[in-house]
Symmetry: C2
Subunit: 243 residues, 2 copies
Amino acid sequence: MAKRLSPALQQVKALTFDVFGTVVDWRGSISREGRKLGQALGVRADWTAFADAWRAGYQPAMQEVRSGKLPWTNIDGLHRRILERILDESGLDMLSDEEKDHLNRAWHRLSPWPDSVRGLRRLKKGYLITTLSNGNVSLLTNMAKHARLPWDCVLSAELFHHYKPDPEAYLGAAAMLGLAPHEVMMVAAHKNDLHAAQKAGLRAAFVQRPLEFGDPKKKDLKPEKDFDVNAADFIDLAAKLGL
Amino acid sequence: MAKRLSPALQQVKALTFDVFGTVVDWRGSISREGRKLGQALGVRADWTAFADAWRAGYQPAMQEVRSGKLPWTNIDGLHRRILERILDESGLDMLSDEEKDHLNRAWHRLSPWPDSVRGLRRLKKGYLITTLSNGNVSLLTNMAKHARLPWDCVLSAELFHHYKPDPEAYLGAAAMLGLAPHEVMMVAAHKNDLHAAQKAGLRAAFVQRPLEFGDPKKKDLKPEKDFDVNAADFIDLAAKLGL
């Protein structure tokens, strides 16, 4: 049986989840889609490097929005801009616009980690569970339908026109749920996301995802006592929350 | 077996649902909550009239927002303003602020029509299904959790700061789903909602809800050939969409 929850955790009513890397395996999924496309077209490339290159463009692209260099652009739009830059080096420059669109929507079809769906179902019994991702609403909604993620609702940085880790994203989510920040706990596999959530007044649950970048050594997996919960996966998180 | 869908219907990918009256029975639910509270407090009143009075304040309150007389206020806020005005005549003026808040959240606890959950489950197999209600996100999310409504996502006029039937609400929903207006069909028991959706380029499915106001004579239940579908309930709608 789980030990009694701390007073801080007892007040938590909703869990807001980071998605890319925390709920779904973007690297395995994108490299798989690349490989499939490559086979169909007779193109050979390092598809894991392709996935990594696509993802590497993500933070700088959001920074361009944050700095005002780009007007508000959702993640579908940013993914597409990055894709245009990496197509050549992957030997995919022959794709039509329609084929590029389809490939770009590979981010709508990411596969969950093995424990994600089962863990979310358990967590849903005790909490309102929602995305709080930089991914746009349609991406998150299509992904949930594809992967059977049982969200109670779909919140996104898109609703606030502020990408995480801007405080507006965390505070906007709490307000939209009709909750005080301390009634909401951010769940993420990335410490900077959790630190920003805590700074905005939310609680924080760290979930290790050792395979996000392939090699566990490439990730900081160390539990931190500043987080309200440290968990190995969603099943462990549910257990630690007494579910 | 359903007959072949029309070319217009074949392009529909998402169904956006009106909620109050279309998915849930606000009148039966609110009068039941009033009655329960009255019994607990020893207050006698006509609780159906109480529900009707509360609902009667709804359109004028949204009009105050639309006209700019009130700054953007979500439905929880509007419901609370109306409640303050009708508490006296219902003999509930002794309620504490906390008790008023709880009563106000009766709108988060509305019960679905008998076919709603089963019908939505069927429709979800063929379409992305989402709310498109004037109710705020937290109201709709709490309601879905309470009534087990299996939405793929939760969209609300709150996201666009425009109440239906303003076109921004319909066009905003389509854009947020990453779809063209004609790929989205509004489902509602109210013809003005459907006419406005059609004007914005969406498709329209009319669902009769003869008991919304108690007496079927109080509602326009007539099918219209201008709507893409006319259905008796959600089961009939699913059948007419070939599901």
